[in-house]
Symmetry: C2
Subunit: 337 residues, 2 copies
DNA sequence: TTTATTTACGCAAACGTTTTCAGTAGGCGG
DNA sequence: CCGCCTACTGAAAACGTTTGCGTAAATAAA
């Protein structure tokens, strides 16, 4: 049971290792006849080049890392789909890491990745991340990084997002057009840039339409869903005047639904809800949920493409660049239909 | 800007490469004092060992591959979550590959993985896969494989599933208890073992309760959702006597909902529906969907644990072994409450 | 014919790590 | 003083691949 590697192939073909290697990489330095012989034997023996030897020698891993908070979330699942597609097309492999929105884990993951395991990194930062030293240090390790969705303003590199500000603005405007006067905003932990942009859209929309800004109507979600349900319940009980909810993240919209059902608030009669969401089943909810739907697959795919272009050109540091893909607002019954 | 590797560390410390390597791996052959010096410098310079050099030398990649049909599916998303957790705990990395239920892709992926990129493989087979040569050949490459959910009966190895037969039986029984007499079964492409088990449960439940078996009520889903909607519409129009639907895969339950809404069939008054599903929002659908919910996270985590144990022991081939984790039936309004 | 040039291949050195095998020094009993 | 053991360290050979350089033969240019 001799191993099937360049050496064994070379011996059987009475060629040197170098020639076999070159033949398999289709080098012009090898005659067509020889290439044919080599390829024939290689495929007969099911030769697969050792990825690690190749990576070590060429200092290229043909692998990208994807660091995201979670995967059990339709947005990220779709994004991974797009990433995998782009990677596959370019012959790259995809390593997945979940931070669970934990800063320590994020740091630890990034630190490990500097060992050369990946040629580049795609990332959506954890909501708890405030210090970006671990990300800065990637540049020293010559690893390009592209942020998607949850970008990091402090790092100058390429970023792919959706039009968070406009989407927040539109969603709020949509609620106002439906007659809402007291609109709550449920947002994700507020040190995330996307939360800030969406929130700014919400604020500006209110102001533009002459509604007062009331910070008491703004709620930051936490990690735990049950806790979010409690928080929303408290909010709705404390402020019975709330007649509209803008949830800028899917989980919070779902939690808001639960609370409304529980408290007997009718949607959309008593309270209207719109949420950022990629849920396929949004149209089947009771009632169908109006959504701002992000082009998650495209965001993932474009982020990966940008990263891969940089990797191929060995550009460790990407120019500050923002690609913004528009979200779509689907008006359904939860905002009056 | 000298690279920070064993060689540079050794030079700065006036030690040999060997000693530095041993110190970092906490070998007993190195004095505590030396270890301390080495560790101090290593962490000061943020030394990260080159994963590829290490993998090449030790013939161990500390990486497992996960090959699944898709990720934009709550079951697989949760499974990945469990897999990542188990892998992280053991210091392993996770490579993700999506087959999109395409046999050719599955073969190509598996073939590439034999290059030593992974120490082991977790897999849910594509629905189109009929030939298993590519999987058999993994044994030659010394790569252990563990199947989860969509297992492959032809390969003898460890498998982690849910109790598909019993779940199909229970779901069907649940519909009958709710008064259904003409129960359709929407199942995933029928060469998958899980589809067969669930279907057998359905059949046996019907027989056990004296209902006739009618093959015209059994529908195999396809890849495209829109096409599934058409198929279901045809079925319901052709057989207006259908008063219960057992969808043994989430997508088909969602599609069934769409068709019922479209055709004006009331759920549960006219037709009752239960589906395999991991959708968090199932309880918020219109009406709340009764589900058979699989322990997706646990399935992923346990499959990974079994695989990792084998990998650590360098057991390339795992004993035939089945771990069955029970699903839970949640009765909601779609079957009468 | 001689001299360039091309073509086709081999040698050997990397890449960074792990590990086997030796080797040195000091301590200790005899 | 000799031999031996222990404790530490170093030299060097792997792992499988890629690639700069050298070289022989074959072909083209002069």
């Amino acid at each position: 049971m001799t191993p099937v590697n360049l050496k064994s192939l070379a011996e059987q073909l009475h060629l040197s290792i170098a020639t076999v290697s070159r033949a398999l990489r289709d080098s012009h330095e090898v005659s067509e006849a020889t290439k044919e012989r080599v390829r024939a034997l290689a495929s007969a023996l099911h030769y697969e080049p050792n990825a690690y030897a190749s990576s070590l020698r060429r200092n290229i891993s043909k692998t990208i890392g994807v660091v995201i908070p979670k995967v059990a979330n339709h947005f990220f699942a779709l994004a991974i789909n797009g990433i995998e597609e782009a990677a596959r097309q370019s012959g790259y492999h995809v390593l997945i890491y979940l931070t669970h929105d934990d800063y320590e884990r994020e740091v630890s993951i990034v630190q490990h990745l500097k060992g050369g395991r990946v040629d580049g990194l795609l990332m959506s930062v954890a909501s708890g991340t405030q210090d970006f030293a671990h990300l800065h240090s990637l540049k020293d390790a010559n690893i390009p990084i592209v942020f998607f969705d949850r970008v990091c303003a402090e790092i100058s590199t390429a970023k792919v997002t959706t039009n968070d500000y406009e989407s927040g603005y539109q969603a709020t405007e949509h609620l106002m057009a439906a007659g809402c006067q007291h609109i709550a905003h449920l947002l994700i932990s507020n040190n995330l840039s996307i939360g800030q942009y969406r929130h700014q859209g919400y604020l500006d929309a209110l102001t533009a339409h002459g509604l007062p800004i009331d910070e008491d109507l703004v709620m930051s979600g936490v990690m735990d869903n049950e806790q979010n349900v409690s928080l929303i319940r408290e909010l709705l009980l404390r402020r019975p005047d709330i007649d509209g909810i803008f949830a800028s993240v899917e989980r919070l919209a779902i939690s808001a639904y639960r609370v409304c059902h529980e408290l007997g608030r009718r949607i959309p009669e008593d309270i209207k809800i719109i949420g950022f969401s990629n849920l396929e089943a949004a149209a089947l909810l009771d009632p169908p949920l109006s959504t701002v739907t992000q082009p998650a697959y495209d965001i993932g795919r474009e982020a990966a493409r940008i990263l891969l272009r940089a990797v191929e050109k060995k550009k460790a540091v990407l120019p500050e660049q923002s690609l913004v893909l528009a979200s779509t607002l689907f008006a359904r019954q939860s905002t009056g239909g």
